[in-house]
């Protein structure tokens, strides 16, 4: 009987641990990507002119969904280059608040995504449908034909 009681206690403990883990789960889900194709149609004025230097994605190119429960949180952003041109600068801005409770602030002006994490915006509760827009600058005919790829990372930090 004692053994059975011990098992039940263990069962309850593990159950609480499991529930606790779920309650503390911080989940950010990023949807979308930005494939950008640049060709001769992007010349400012045809032959003899340079490429358009700056490109913007759709305002809802990337969508963030955040599941954190409640508290004070921050989203940081950085990138890791797979193969990237040194002339390129990649920027991001938040174009919507999404839906959810609590306050969300910051990140509505373009900021460069660098190779080190930087603060992007802060929020308090779960949110879905936070739209992000991207901007690429530094494009010119000096950039050799190729496929350049980087990956932007969004990380939730509890503050």
């Amino acid at each position: 009987m004692k053994k059975i009681t011990r098992f039940i206690v263990l069962l309850v403990m593990f159950g609480l641990i499991a529930i606790g883990e779920r309650a503390d789960a911080i989940v950010i889900t990023v949807s979308g990507s930005w494939p950008l194709a640049i060709d001769a149609s992007d010349l400012v004025a045809g032959a003899g002119s340079d490429l358009i230097g700056t490109y913007e994605s759709n305002s809802d190119q990337i969508v963030l969904d955040i599941d954190v429960g409640r508290g004070n949180f921050r989203v940081d952003v950085s990138k890791i280059n797979t193969y990237w041109h040194s002339d390129f600068q990649l920027y991001v801005r938040r174009t919507s608040d999404g839906t959810g409770g609590g306050k969300i602030s910051g990140g509505t002006s373009y900021q460069e995504i660098t190779d080190t994490y930087q603060s992007f915006f802060t929020f308090k509760k779960d949110r879905t449908g936070i739209n992000l827009q991207l901007k690429l600058s530094g494009v010119s005919v000096q950039v050799a034909p190729d496929t350049y790829t980087t990956t932007a990372y969004y990380t939730i930090v509890k503050i």
Partner: protein, 160 residues
């Protein structure tokens, strides 16, 4: 009974670990920039007529020249390029020459006597925008008489 408890324990553990497994405080997206090869070339100024209609007594007719009507513009994002020139007219009564002047984004080759074989007009074209004036010279000898040649002159940006 023990077996039942053990089964429940296992289920809860799996569920609990599952909760941990799906928890991710970081996610990502890619940005892919595909830059295609760009080799664009254009002529401005339109068609050009050169008329040889004067001479100094005792000498061959004067050349007819024009270096202001036509310009060549180009853009390339590929290295090791050059611009060649050729005419469509295989059998010519008179001589037509061209040379690139005021070149930016490349180096002028020597003056070319046009033929159906492509010849260098601008070499060392960099990954840049460029332009030049097209300076044409038409010449004829008295022995060649009168007549006209209609050339279609083609400029091509190609691998050096």
């Amino acid at each position: 009974m023990k077996r039942l408890i053990a089964v429940w324990l296992a289920v809860i553990l799996v569920l609990g670990l599952g909760g941990v497994a799906v928890a991710a405080n970081s996610d990502s997206h890619t940005v892919t920039v595909q830059v295609s090869a760009i080799n664009e070339l254009a002529i401005t100024g339109g068609n050009l007529t050169l008329t040889i209609n004067s001479a100094t007594a005792g000498l061959e007719p004067d050349d007819a020249t024009d270096s202001t009507t036509c310009d060549l513009l180009w853009t390339t994002n590929q290295a090791s390029k050059k611009i060649t020139v050729a005419t469509s007219l295989a059998s010519q009564n008179f001589t037509l020459k061209v040379v690139a002047q005021n070149v930016s984004g490349g180096s002028a080759a020597s003056e070319v006597t046009l033929s159906t074989t492509a010849q260098d007009l601008v070499t060392a074209v960099g990954t840049t925008t460029g332009s030049c004036d097209l300076a044409y010279t038409a010449s004829a000898t008295a022995a060649q008489g009168t007549g006209s040649d209609a050339h279609t002159v083609t400029y091509t940006i190609t691998a050096a």
